[in-house]
């Protein structure tokens, strides 16, 4: 049996599945039940300053994007940080941590961007005996207008400054939670590292409008006929999150900086992918909000079975294993020549590959008499669109042309040598380099 125990920044948890700071972690009641249900850790719903707490809207705060059968693909929200008093949250955290010493408990914090505010709150958080803090620099709505959340997260200098304050006034791990609402995620990550943060976690939600009501022309969720941009999360944002995690994992300036992967984790497989790209653990919000706490059971069992199958005894055996394979486009092997192949026995003759290739790709699929579809190697550029749109798994595959054969599209002999754009004759830079 694979060992799922996780050690992230020295914080131990029975498994790498943490609940992200959000409604599932809003109060003692939920958090106790989450631990009982099997979650390894919890990042408490973001705490704000002392004093009257923020208020949330009293109408709908979530919007949704559905796939087939009302499957939730993405949710957006216009919720703010915790709307309960700071003292109440801190007391509850202390009680929970005392009762669950082996589970991770992280405090998420968002206070104004001045040293005093942080200096005031950090000792009080430390008193709860929680395992670390996460700086919420991510919320794209509501708080950012007040100069917090993503308003900080979008300015690397502020990130660095606040991280530094936290390391100064708090002696346990500091995680900086990054917003994806930025052009290049490496800058805020570098800033966090430079400020002394122990780790980054990402992504927070993506600025979004999920839909527009075409009767009253209000964005959804609609509050009295008006809407505000919200934060998008769930399976739909996973590809964005994976890329950002990978960018940080392979950036020479941040390489080795621990990462907590967040964004659309719904199954064990999603978690394994984040971890393969360098995340030490994962955080989950939407999947729990959609299906309840019990989904962690599938995640644990799935990850454990996969690790057994692959022979990984501990999480560190596969964390980061995909990072070396993420490279820049210019280093991709241009001598890797493939052609689409259609398995005629598996083909159900829907013609989608044909429509896709004929109308929008390279006119490389023939439709013969009797709805027989065949790839014309002389036109196939191996774009993969037919594979993507074919409703039958493994019906169309990409087959590599063996070295020595001639690609009928280019007339060139396929070579098994690695050659990329940097040395390609069409590359003006390459030509210059040769001169």
């Amino acid at each position: 049996m694979a060992d799922l125990t996780s050690n992230f920044l020295g914080i131990k948890s029975p498994n790498p599945f943490w609940l992200a700071s959000a409604p599932p972690t809003d109060k003692e009641y939920n958090v106790r039940r989450a631990y009982e249900a099997g979650w390894g850790g919890v990042v408490w719903k973001t705490l704000g300053e002392e004093g009257p707490p923020v208020v949330n809207v009293n109408g709908p705060r979530y919007g949704v994007v559905y796939g087939a059968d009302r499957r939730v693909l993405g949710i957006n929200n216009i919720e703010l940080i915790t709307d309960r008093p700071l003292e109440v949250n801190l007391e509850e955290m202390a009680r929970v941590k005392a009762d669950y010493p082996d589970h991770a408990l992280i405090a998420s914090i968002m206070v104004p961007c001045d040293e005093d505010s942080w200096k005031r709150i950090l000792p009080r958080v430390a008193e709860t005996n929680c395992d670390g803090i996460e700086l919420n620099f991510g919320c794209p709505h509501g708080m950012s207008e007040r100069g917090m959340g993503s308003a900080v997260g979008q300015v690397p200098e502020y990130i660095e400054m606040v991280a530094r304050w936290c390391k100064k006034y708090y002696d346990r791990p500091v995680i900086v939670k990054l917003t994806p609402n930025i052009t290049d995620i490496r800058y805020p990550a570098r800033a966090a590292k430079n400020g002394g943060a122990d780790a980054v976690s990402l992504i927070n939600t993506v600025s979004s409008i999920t839909s527009v009501n075409l009767d009253n022309f209000s964005p959804e969720p609609s509050i009295d006929g008006k809407g505000s941009h919200g934060g998008y999360c769930g399976p739909a944002v996973k590809p964005i999150a994976l890329n950002m995690v990978a960018e940080i994992a392979r950036d020479p300036q941040t390489r080795g900086l621990p990462i907590s992967g967040i964004g659309g984790v719904t199954t064990w497989r999603d978690a394994a992918e984040f971890m393969a790209l360098g995340a030490g653990n994962v955080q989950v919000c939407t999947a729990a909000m959609t299906y309840g706490f019990k989904i962690v059971e599938e995640m644990k069992r799935g990850l454990s079975a996969w690790m057994d199958e692959k022979g990984y005894a501990t999480l560190s055996d596969f964390v980061g294993k995909a990072v070396p394979n993420v490279t820049d486009w210019q280093y991709l092997n241009l001598n890797y020549v493939t052609k689409a192949r259609i398995d005629q026995d598996a083909c159900i003759k829907c013609g989608r590959c044909y429509a896709a290739c004929e109308d929008t790709s390279h006119q490389a699929i023939w439709m013969h008499e009797g709805r027989v579809f065949e790839v014309n190697d002389a036109e196939c550029v191996a774009c993969n669109l037919c594979v993507d749109v074919c409703p039958v798994e493994n019906c169309i595959t990409m087959e590599r042309m063996p070295a020595g054969s001639v690609d009928p599209r280019t007339g060139k002999t396929v070579s098994d040598e690695y050659a990329n754009w940097t040395t390609h004759p069409n590359n003006p830079m390459a030509v210059k380099a040769a001169e």
């Binding site: 989608r352 439709m367 409703p391």
Partner: protein, 444 residues
């Protein structure tokens, strides 16, 4: 109080509640979520095989996508542009041998996209919420006679009216709809759908129906040709094949189509007499429908007796499975030899058959089944119309339903081709287009 075990032919074998349940919708309507899930299964195939398999060429992937995107009424328009009786076809088409058989998901997983039920969802939505969706072109001053208000005649009349022609339908019966009204199994067209659909269809305007007017009795083909610019015949198959068996004239022996017509028109199904032991002779849709409905009325034993093997039956596998699921026994490779009984039928004697080098032959071995009621369903045939060339036992046509008489078109069951509602609609529509082209001088 009678029961399924009451001897002879009797009414009221089942209570009202059971009867209501028995004759409720065979394929209940989808609710919006079911429709969305079902619609989502469609792959939007290129040059979709389901379209090719639909006799009226409905753009199935398009209308299903319209349902998926929340526009069932627009989807209905896509359907009705090709098939004005899309509502009835959604209920009665043997989809398992048409569009759904061709659906790629049938090949892939034996579970096609439920095109028929989706079509019903769309057409029901439109018919429930809107008036007639099409408008007429300006009046052309041309007047076309349509004989028969069945699917073929109605489809032809509608398309002609839409093109601006004036149409008079001459219908022998007191109601329109043809077999939609008198023939289709009751559980396929519930809540008086056939009549409602006719009313809705006539909403286009420009169509008058003259009831009780039979060609050959009240009107003549020559007369119609003299007073109209064109004539379309959609008279279906008015006669039935005779049963050549000893004792076939006994009480209790009748035509399945008459039995069904009476059932379809009955106000109160409890008042309908049905035998305790019913034997239906035949192997087509009519035989199955008569057998199933006898059973649903409360007959104790119902047998379909077909002269060849099951694979040769006209009724599809789905229809046969439906019958057996209701408790009907299907007996194959038997022909009726005699009906026994003293004045009224009591027993039927059947002889086994075998397919030999010179056709089907009796083997000499017989069996007897109790039979209070024997229903003939051995095929309907054309009631001949003077002056028309025949092709076999149907009206000969070329192209889009042109008969060999100038100015006379025909379509539906009375012409060669499969006897299906959807085929009748396609032929009526295509003949209308040809009539229109002819009348407006686009073709001659």
């Amino acid at each position: 109080m009678t029961s399924p075990f009451t001897p002879g032919i009797a009414s009221g074998r089942l209570d009202a509640e059971t009867l209501a349940r028995n004759f409720s919708d065979l394929h209940p309507a989808y609710d919006p979520h079911e429709a969305a899930v079902a619609a989502d299964r469609c792959y939007f195939c290129h040059d979709a095989p389901c379209i090719t398999a639909c006799p009226t060429d409905i753009d199935i992937p398009l209308f299903i996508r319209q349902i998926a995107s929340g526009m069932p009424e627009a989807a209905a328009r896509t359907i009705l542009e090709q098939n004005i009786l899309g509502g009835m076809c959604a209920r009665v088409c043997p989809t398992e041998t048409l569009c759904e058989e061709a659906c790629v998901r049938e090949a892939a997983e034996g579970k096609p996209v439920e095109i028929g039920r989706l079509q019903r969802y769309a057409t029901d939505s439109l018919m429930a919420r809107q008036g007639h969706p099409f408008t007429r072109a300006p009046e052309t001053g041309r007047h076309v006679a349509v004989v028969g208000a069945g699917p073929a005649g109605l489809a032809c009349a509608h398309r002609l009216a839409m093109k601006g022609h004036t149409v008079t339908i001459y219908e022998a019966r007191p109601k329109a709809g043809g077999l939609n009204e008198y023939g289709i199994a009751a559980y396929k067209s519930t809540d008086d759908f056939a009549a409602r659909e006719v009313d809705w269809l006539l909403g286009i305007g420009g169509i008058t129906i003259e009831y009780g007017k039979a060609l050959g009795r009240d009107i003549t083909l020559d007369g119609l040709r003299g007073t109209h610019d064109a004539v379309f015949l959609g008279i279906g198959l008015g006669a039935v094949n005779a049963l050549e068996a000893e004792g076939a004239d006994k009480d209790g022996v009748g035509d399945a189509v008459d039995f069904i017509a009476i059932l379809r028109q009955a106000e109160d199904k409890a008042a309908l007499p049905v035998g305790r032991n019913v034997v239906v002779i035949g192997g087509g849709m009519t035989a199955i429908d008569a057998a199933v409905q006898s059973k649903l009325l409360g007959a104790e034993n119902v047998t379909v007796a077909y002269r060849r093997g099951a694979d040769r039956m006209g009724a599809s596998q789905f229809e046969r499975d439906l019958a057996t699921s209701k408790g009907v026994r299907i007996l194959t490779d038997v022909v009726p030899k005699a009906v026994h009984g003293n004045g009224a039928a009591r027993e039927i004697e059947l002889e086994y058959t075998a397919e030999g080098p010179d056709g089907l032959k009796g083997t000499g071995e017989t069996l007897r089944l109790p039979a209070d009621q024997v229903l003939r369903a051995i095929g309907q045939v054309l009631d001949p119309v003077d002056g028309l060339t025949l092709d076999g036992r149907k009206i000969a046509v070329t192209g889009a339903g042109r008969t060999f008489l100038p100015g006379v078109w025909a379509g539906g069951d009375c012409t060669p081709g499969e006897d299906l509602t959807v085929v009748a609609v396609a032929e009526g529509r295509d003949a209308a287009e040809d009539i229109h082209a002819t009348l407006t001088g686009m073709v001659s």
